[in-house]
Structure formats: structure tokens, C-alpha cells
Amino acid sequence: MTFKSAICAATALTLVAGSAALADTITIATVNNGDMIRMQGYTDDFTAKTGHTVEWVTLEENVLRQRVTTDISTKGGAFDIMTIGMYETPIWGSNGWLVALDDLSAEYDAADILPAMAGGLSHNGTLYAAPFYGESSMIMYRTDLMEKAGLEMPEAPSWSFIAKAARAMTDRDNGINGICLRGKAGWGEGGAFITAMSNSFGARWFDEDWNAQFDRREWSDTLNFFVNMMSDSGPAGYATNGFNENLSLFQQGKCGMWIDATVAASFVTNPNDSTVADKVGFALAPDNGMGVRSNWLWAWALAIPAGTKNESAAKQFIEWATSKDYIELVAANEGWANVPPGARTSLYENANYKDVPFAKMTLDSILSADPNNSTVDPSPYVGIQFAAIPEFAGIATEVSQEFSAVYAGQQSVEAALKKAQALTNDAMEAAGYR
């Protein structure tokens, strides 16, 4: 070997070693939702572009919450990216637990993120998590059953219309329930639905001094309306029905209407899974004439825990996964109906996406949700189906258990509200809010 070729070989080896040193392996904790699983399948595209490899930790939503909360609060460093929601992001951002995403590249076009999503994932105006997909809630209904009932669904119906339509569509002999709603205990299950619904009835969780408001007429109206409507037109055992149970009922043609997450629209219109795929219409979540609708706002977003050793690679991944290019990649391979919805304004300006039947109603629902003004009377908290304070998850889980006991016929509305009032005030006092 000549001296010259030896120098060349040494230089090449140094370059290879250098590039290998720049390539990191990042660990991402995520949920087992369709869009997230799809993203895992495209990881090779990210690796090809950046050289970084990815290790996935996929967990059920509630397990994931417990897992990532333990890790971030102890600075465990087990994950470089965490999939979190709108509830955790502002709280963890204010605790200094997350890396601010305020230096994303110009090509990423952070201004394109839907304002409602960016607002819900920020603290004091700083973005702490990038939305992978976002959702609101809306009405999904059977167009054939609505027609058979001699009714026409308005684009923005009221609760009284929904109750009337539910009764008209109910056909117990043929196993059709007029309406299917969440009754399952849990702050993210039935608790989320009833809280969003209560906003449209003028109720709120707390007044401006953090006093619980379950002793007010608005909460009693909400709960009584819900229970009466579900007794008349809901499925048997609705006290234990959550998203999946209602999805299953709707897909099998056993629900006239279902009010739930906008992401469900792609499931109920998928002919491979749904027996009613070609008979589904969409409308805004109902209101009660008080200026607030009953739809929620949520995003599954990617955030970087402070102290991670792979911050740069993690940011590159977030830019890739929540970019316009990623949406194009999925659309090219799996069609526009399967791209992650509800995160970017440009998606809804795309002519191809406008053909997707639920695209417009999803956007309208997201735009009509305002986490900063979610209640008729002023409230001290941010959030629609939750209050963005650390204590909320624990309190709301207990409250939703009391409500589920009402749905199961185990106690009265009055008894449940009385218990909810007492336990909420006790918890808020213990936490130093009152």
C-alpha cells in the first residue's frame, strides 16, 4: 500500500466513524392508535434521511400515561420522545420538564399548525409538543335511519333535536339504539364526554375561586338530560361503554347516532370494518342555545423530555413525523383518508383532502372548540373536557365513577352530584387551591 492510499483509507475510515458517531438511536414511547402504528411503519424513511434509528415502546394509553409520568417526574431518561396529550403538555411545560420547540426549522412551517392545536400544546406562548394528529368530537349518524324517521339532521343541531331524533330512530325489536354515548368511568372516557356536554348546558367544574360547581342546577340539568336520553334511546349497559364499545356497535349498525372523537369517522366509513360505511353523515356536536357547543379538543403530540441525551435527533424526528412531507408520504401510499388529521391548516386547504367526506366537519369541529373559553360562565382553567391542572385526572376519575354508578342505576343523580361536590372540594382544599 502506498503512503497516498494509506492516507485515503485512513480518511475514509475517519469519515465513516464520524458519521456513525453522529447517528443516534432514539427511544419513543407511544400509544397503540392506528395513526401511531402507521407512523412506525414509515420509520425507515426517517432513518434513510437522517441516519438515526428509532426504537419504539408502544403501550396502552393509560399505561403509557403512568409510565411516562413516572419517568419524566424522576428524570429517568428512559425515553427521548414521549407521546402526550393536551392535558399533560401545558402542565409539564410549566414544570420545566419538556424541551421548548421554539427553534424548529423554517421548512417545518410551525405557523401552519392549526391555532387551536398550537394553543393547547403551549405554555405561555411557547410550543412544547408538536401535534401528530388532532381531534374534536362530532355527531356521526346513520343517514338511512334519519330518513326513515322522517327527520333531517341540521349541520349544527341542538340537544333537544338530538334527543327527539334518538327516540325516533330507536327500534328495540331490531336492536337499533337511537344514540350511543360514552358512560364508562374514567376521566378520558365517560368523564370527557359528560364534561364537554356540561359546557353546553352552562355548567363548569370550578368557579373563579376554584370552588366545585356540582351543586349548581346546570350540572343537574346535564346529568338528568343525559340519563333520560340514554334510558329512552341508548344501548343496554351503556354505563360500561367507552369509545371502542360504541365504535363496535356503530360499525355493526346498532346505533342511529354516535357523538365521539372525529378520528372515528375514518373507522365508520371504512367498508372493510363497517357494515354501514356508505350510510354515515356528520354534524357538529350539539349545543343548548347558550353559545357553547359540546365538542372537545384533543391532540396526540410528540414532546421531548428535558435532559434527554439525544435532543437534536429527537427534534429531527418530530420535524419529520409532524411535517407536511409525512402527510404526503402517507397519502401517496395509503390514500388521503388515512393521513393523520387535525394538525395542519394546509391539509384542509389541499384539494385532494377536501374530497374526504369527513374532512370539512372535522375542521369545523376543531375550529369551533376553544380551550381558553370553554364554559358559558368564566372559569379559572384551560381545557374543554378537562381542566389543565395536575389534580384533575385523579378528581375527575372519581367523579366519573360516581356518574357511571348513576348510569348503572346504582344511585340517583342528586346523590352522585352531592358526592362529586364533596370529593372535589376536599381534593382542591388538600391541594391548596381553596
Binding site: E55, V57, F243, Q251, D273
Partner: protein
């Protein structure tokens, strides 16, 4: 002399035993059946028992999405390692309690059992912080230690029960013949207690295999066993029951086969000392 049993009584007993057996086995059977259904038919109402479109697609999807062999190896190492380590500690502990008891032996045994009554989540943060400090997070060694500690009271209790059945005179004879303590435990006590030790090992492997709190909370991408594999297919926002069932079947199959082949030892172990 065996008691005479009428044919009618025998038939009733057989039917009753089969009914109870099927009732207990039904959830596993249903999981296995569901794993061969398309997602749409997995949630059909009324449920489809045998007449559905049989498919292996769920197994292919699970195999493609997850590194099953890595999870399986982790499960084998963690459950095997923790049981082995537990036995090494428990044999001398049970020996001392069974053959040289002190005034406090009963209290110590009860105290050990009482640690099983503490909800695991109550010590999650201290253990997690210790793991961070010791660099044991997401490591198989860390899980081997934690799961061994969790199951140690049960191992000691089971071995203690077996050892109590062994006549002290045999051990005394060995001592009189000049056996050291080590020889007494290794060459006299252990061979006599082999059936008991075997059933203890089997039961603890099953317990460690199925442990789903610490294995989910102390692992990330590297050390997760089959419990983490199953958890990755559970979703509250999406109907993936057939895939979840396929993942569950793949996770329980090895331990089910082990249990099937060793059921004699397991039954013997669980009922040892129950009838005198």
C-alpha cells in the same frame, strides 16, 4: 380400600369436572379463537364461535410489527433468572426456619407474607429512583432482582412447607455421620425435597412470566418481556381485538405448554401437605 362409586355418581362427577374445567379454560379458548378471526368478525354480535373466516393474518401482522423473539428471550431470562436466584436464597432460609426455628420464626414468616399485601404502586417511585441511580432501568438484571424479591416470600413459604414434611431424624443421622451444613443441605435435604423444589420453581416461573406491573414500569425498548409485548396491542381508541388476541396467544403459549407438561408436579406442589 377404595370406596365403591356408582356409575351414575361417576358420570355426574365427570360431567361436573369437565364443565368446571371448560368454564375455567373458556377465556383462553376464546382468545385463541379470536386470534384467527378478521377484526370485523372479532367484535360480531352475536359472537361467532367456529363458523367465521379463519385467517392467520393477525399473526403475520403481529410478527411483522414486533420483535417477538426478543420479548420471548427477555421473558425466559427474567422468569428463569429470578426463580433461580430466589431458590438459591430461599433454600437456606427455609432450611433454617424448618429445622432450627427460633421464637420469632412464625412472626418472620408472617411478616414476609405481609409484604405481599403492599400495593406495588406504593413503592414504584422509590424503586424507580433506585433503578436510575444504579443504572438498572430497562435492564434484565434489574427485573430479575425485583421479581425475585417480589416472589421470595412465596418461594420461602412453599419450601418451608415441604421441608417441614421431611423427618428431622434423617438430617440428624447425616450430621452424626459427619456431614457439614453445606453437605447436609446439598446432598441430603435437597435430593429429598426435589419434587417440592421442582413445583416451587414451576409455580414461580409462571408468576414471574405473568408479572405485569414492574415489567411494564421498569422497562422501555430493551428489557421488555412478553407482558410488554401484549400491552403494545391494547388500545382504547381502535378495535384491534383480533391482533391483541394473537399477541396474547403467542405470549401465553410457551407457559401454557410448560404448565401442560408439568401439571403433575404443579398439582402435587400446590396440594402438598393439604391432606395428612
Amino acid at each position: 380400600m377404595a370406596r365403591a362409586v356408582s356409575n351414575r355418581r361417576r358420570l355426574i362427577n365427570t360431567l361436573l369436572a369437565w364443565s368446571i374445567g371448560l368454564l375455567i379454560f373458556f377465556p383462553i379458548l376464546w382468545t385463541v379463537l379470536t386470534s384467527f378471526k378478521p377484526e370485523g368478525q372479532a367484535i360480531a354480535d352475536p359472537p361467532m364461535f367456529l363458523f367465521f373466516d379463519w385467517t392467520l393474518e393477525n399473526y403475520f401482522v403481529v410478527q411483522e410489527r414486533s420483535n417477538y423473539m426478543r420479548y420471548l428471550m427477555n421473558s425466559i431470562i427474567i422468569s428463569g433468572g429470578s426463580t433461580l436466584l430466589g431458590i438459591l436464597i430461599a433454600v437456606p432460609a427455609a432450611w433454617s426456619m424448618a429445622f432450627v426455628p427460633s421464637k420469632r420464626t412464625k412472626d418472620i414468616l408472617m411478616w414476609m407474607l405481609s409484604t405481599k399485601m403492599l400495593p406495588a404502586v406504593g413503592v414504584l417511585y422509590p424503586i424507580y429512583l433506585l433503578f436510575i441511580q444504579l443504572g438498572l432501568l430497562d435492564s434484565r438484571l434489574g427485573l430479575v432482582i425485583v421479581i425475585m424479591l417480589i416472589n421470595l416470600p412465596i418461594i420461602i413459604w412453599m419450601l418451608y412447607t415441604y421441608f417441614k414434611e421431611i423427618p428431622t431424624a434423617i438430617l440428624e443421622a447425616a450430621r452424626m455421620d459427619g456431614a457439614s451444613l453445606r453437605s447436609e443441605i446439598l446432598y441430603v435435604l435437597t435430593p429429598m425435597a426435589i419434587p417440592g423444589i421442582a413445583s416451587t420453581i414451576l409455580l414461580n416461573i409462571i408468576l414471574a412470566w405473568n408479572e405485569a406491573f414492574w415489567t411494564l414500569n421498569l422497562t422501555a425498548a430493551k428489557a421488555g418481556p412478553l407482558t410488554a409485548f401484549i400491552a403494545s396491542y391494547s388500545s382504547p381508541e381502535g378495535l384491534f381485538f383480533a391482533k391483541l388476541s394473537a399477541a396474547s396467544t403467542m405470549a401465553i403459549a410457551p407457559i401454557l405448554i410448560l404448565g401442560w407438561f408439568s401439571q403433575k408436579q404443579l398439582v402435587r406442589g400446590l396440594t402438598f401437605g393439604a391432606v395428612k
